[in-house]
Point group: C2
Chain length 571, copies 2
């Protein structure tokens, strides 16, 4: 997002030149003392258990404003959701409100693969970006260890005891790693004389581990432990479930997560406090940072700006239907991030993308892309929450193009819209957006908010609600093991859980190549399984890529560090 | 070491009841200010790059005393090497010297497997033991990530490019994990339509990764980067080497290790500063903490007490022949830890161990075990360094047994010996030992110290020196690929590197079942490979277990944490 912006400095250059305050100084005016913090160097801290409890108690007596940031259907160019989240948080403080930010922790896999860092950018980033993008406070590593301890204890039971009458072809707990590694997608383990019991297995990215979802939905350490205990790792031949607790792994796994559950605090480039905590996928999991961070934030500020992964069909739908349901929260406004180039890309129906062609396209292609934006606006309005479109402006965008988007939203949709320049200008570039958000939140009536389906709806009704009302499908087909899986879920007593649909993020439909707002298509549901610890049912439609690969020349190959510790290529 | 000691509190109970000072207060009188530290909570810190440089410069102008702690051939009962190291460091301060401690970082695998924690015990432990035994400051996790980034970049090259004419059966870089997991000892990866190129692979424990050895031998970040670049990951079909640098991975791998290379400081239960940094295996690697920690310590104190893994044949031999050679250091005294029960165990020639029988045995069995102690004393004396035997006393040891050991050392061997009670009494129990160590170090003549072979000896001469002089073998046989490997090493220009022999630690010989001091046996050398980054040649004798497994009921199954964060079962 930065290297090709002409003379504009890179994210890392901006980050390096920023004057950071000691994190205890940043938090001093937010009711947090040094005794509340476990420092990780001078600029990162975990909030102690006691401080979390106190701040959450504070929050009980307050009317906080929860602002969710989501986006159009993602394009390979990046729309700037994290930039907008960070920029909006900074700007709300700039205009006199007390606002906090909560975003997800980056995963090492994407950092070294293609995507790069995930700490915002330009003058709207969280600092120190190089630490946040690398090991940060070790939460992802703790999750990886905890995940693989379960795997190792499971395989030890399989090969060293006959306690379970287990089907080695019905093990549902893979191994995990925080690294993009195609070679680990499918493998055979347990080989050789001393390797135990041979079986098929695979690694998934740690962000896709059920433990990540569990950590992000847990109320506290006690709740985390109960959730860990419930996780299903395999099935017996008679269909009975084997849980983490059956492996005697609940204690050590929770112990490994004792610090990871404490929320991390950093500062933005303008000194706004930001929680960066937890980072679940937004397909097989719910895609937003930890509930603990959200709830603690309201003990500190009056506004919380948080971000959902992918578009309104994935992250935002799951935030509304799963997170707000399980966490008993009500959003006061939603910001929908859009860009001129994403609109053109959707208008041109590109697959794969040709970035030069997008840059050269004009208002006609732009307007053809409105249908994608319109569908996301309509999706969000279904939840009864006011919507503000943020047009994240890029240097190449012409005034005519920008005006076309503003006019469309105001005149055709009657929805609030503001241009945002927080990447290039920080809070100076977000004032219009912040004012719209404040207005929207002021006008919001919390009673208008509703999930799209009740707990007691049948599993099929829940799936069909999301498929038709949010994705725009005509109907749903159940293929593969789906019907059997639904029966099994109901038998196991999981029928009242919300559903977490896994679908490509490249399209509103289940076909990654279809841009805009596809209609007249049917959604194939092919498999369901419970995330019993997290508390939702995962519904698989297409193939899930939960272990990305590296290209022959990954982003990593362009990264370097000199003998004095100066980094390059990590942007 | 604690739970079965009658009414004696567990290590964790002692640790919990200890009054810890803030780490900045602990270090204040050692010339370290808060600006030198990167805090990890209140009790752990990393030393900044600048502070390391300053302290090492200080050390140049000083005559420090380097004290190495090693042990007899290990038994399943534990001899208390770390306890003695920590206790001796504490006692040296107690009797008026300025002493530092440097030990290895525990690995999660053994913690959850059988061995348990590795932070000392009783009143001679480093704190906070629960953090040190779990994620600590994330060094092991950083190494795991860096290791697996190399693996992922290598497999991406294999499957996504034709840059190398690589033999997939001649890949020398495995994957790594900090978890005991038998199922990952042998596997086939790269399977399935999207998995890349199928090939055999395996995981080793992170402690066994060459990156760990590299980290522990690097002078600084620049040297680390050069060493990383040199690591050999695979061979081309024509025999050419493929290095980490050939994968363009040097930069990102070094970047991932930028914090791990900074030494960690904690305190002992009596407030002695202790470096806990790096933890390589003592078979395929050199088995001692980082050279950076050792060198920095002499800028702080006059004594450094450090520990080598396993016995004089493994950790101590490698410390003398590899670490002191590469790091240009001279030990001033060696402490050889022995116990009454280990002597009995060796005297009874037990395999496997019967702990009850050991407890019931008497002086006769004890005396039959002297040959093991004697051989370790003789081994250490060959390096020209004064030896002090520490008899680490346990509650079951009778006065008669203890006296027999004291008499044997004084009268038969003419070697210094002291009873040590640092486990139960802290520094009060180590005064006699400390006084002997001070005397020995005072009398030591640094000119007497020598490695057992010169750089320019042939590879076979080096191997044979260690095998015959240290292990007590009659001769060496070269089997399997050994002769070819030696020729290849010489061709590649590695002939002047020291050798790092991998042998079972259960016996002085290559047969784990043989106790005491076996003679009349021949050592089979079956394979050699270069640790080109670390700078030594690994020489394999028996099978190397670099990925331990978990039993059906691992130590982990007995661990727990309550909702307030109190841990149990981690001792």
């Amino acid at each position: 997002m930065s290297d090709d912006d002409g003379g504009f400095p890179t994210d890392y250059e901006i980050a390096k030149s920023a004057e950071k305050e000691h994190i205890t100084d940043v938090l001093d005016s937010w009711g947090i003392g040094s005794e509340d913090l476990e420092l990780f160097g001078d600029y990162k801290a975990k909030l102690s258990h006691d401080a979390v409890t106190r701040l959450r108690d504070n929050a009980e007596n307050k009317e906080g404003n929860l602002i969710l940031v989501t986006g159009m259907t993602p394009t390979p160019m990046g729309e700037g959701k994290t930039v907008t989240t960070v920029g909006l948080g900074q700007t709300l403080n700039h205009v006199g409100e007390d606002a906090m930010i909560a975003i997800r922790e980056p995963s090492l896999g994407p950092v070294f693969g293609v995507k790069g860092g995930a700490a915002g950018g330009g003058y709207s980033q969280v600092l120190p970006m190089e630490d946040i993008n690398l090991h940060f406070t070790g939460d992802l590593h703790a999750l990886t260890s905890a995940h693989n301890l379960i795997s190792a204890m499971l395989d030890a039971k399989i090969s060293q005891s006959d306690e379970f009458d287990l089907d080695v072809n019905d093990v549902s707990w893979p191994r995990s790693m925080d690294m993009n590694d195609r070679a680990l997608r499918n493998m055979v383990v347990g080989l050789g004389e001393s390797g135990g019991t041979p079986r098929e297995d695979r690694f998934l990215l740690t962000a896709a581990s059920e433990l990540m979802a569990v950590l992000c939905l847990a109320e506290d350490l006690g709740d985390l432990k109960e959730r860990v205990a419930r996780i299903i790792v395999a099935y017996e031949k008679d269909g009975g479930v084997i849980t983490v607790d059956d492996l005697d792994a609940t204690g050590p796994v929770t112990m490994l997560l004792k610090d990871a559950i404490k929320p991390n605090l950093v500062q933005t480039i303008e000194g706004t406090p930001a929680f960066v905590h937890g980072g679940p996928f937004a397909n097989i999991a719910h895609g937003t940072n930890s509930l603990i961070a959200d709830k603690t934030a309201f003990g500190m500020g009056d506004y919380l700006v948080t971000e959902a992964g992918f578009g309104s069909d994935l992250g935002a739908e799951k935030f509304m239907n799963i997170v707000c349901r399980l966490g008993d929260m009500t959003p006061n406004a939603v910001v929908l991030v859009s860009t001129v180039r994403a609109l053109k890309y959707h208008g041109m129906g590109m697959w794969p993308a040709d970035l030069d062609a997008v840059t050269e396209a004009g208002v006609e292609e732009l307007e053809a892309g409105f249908e994608n934006l319109d569908k996301h606006v309509a999706n969000l309005q279904k939840f009864g929450v006011p919507v503000v479109v943020a047009l994240n402006r890029f240097p190449d965008d012409s005034d005519e193009e920008v005006q076309a988007v503003l006019d469309h939203c105001r005149e055709d949709l009657g929805v609030r819209i503001a241009e945002s320049n927080v990447f290039a200008e920080g809070s100076e570039g977000g004032v219009d957006l912040a004012e719209h958000v404040i207005e929207a939140a002021d006008e919001a009536d919390e009673d208008d908010f509703d999930h799209l389906y009740p707990d007691e709806a049948s599993i099929k009704e829940k799936i069909e609600t999301v498929a038709t009302e949010v994705y725009g499908a005509e109907s749903v087909n159940y293929v593969g093991s789906a019907e059997d899986d639904i029966a099994r879920m109901e038998e196991l007593g999981f029928g009242d859980m919300p559903v977490c649909l896994s679908k490509t993020f490249h399209s509103l439909s289940d076909d990654a190549s279809k841009k805009g707002a596809p209609s007249g298509w049917e959604l194939d549901v092919r498999e369901l399984y419970p995330s019993a610890g997290a508390g939702f049912l995962v519904v698989l439609t297409g193939d899930v890529l939960d272990m990305p690969g590296l290209p022959a020349e990954p982003a990593a190959a362009g990264m370097d560090i000199d003998e004095d510790g100066n980094i390059s290529g990590l942007f």
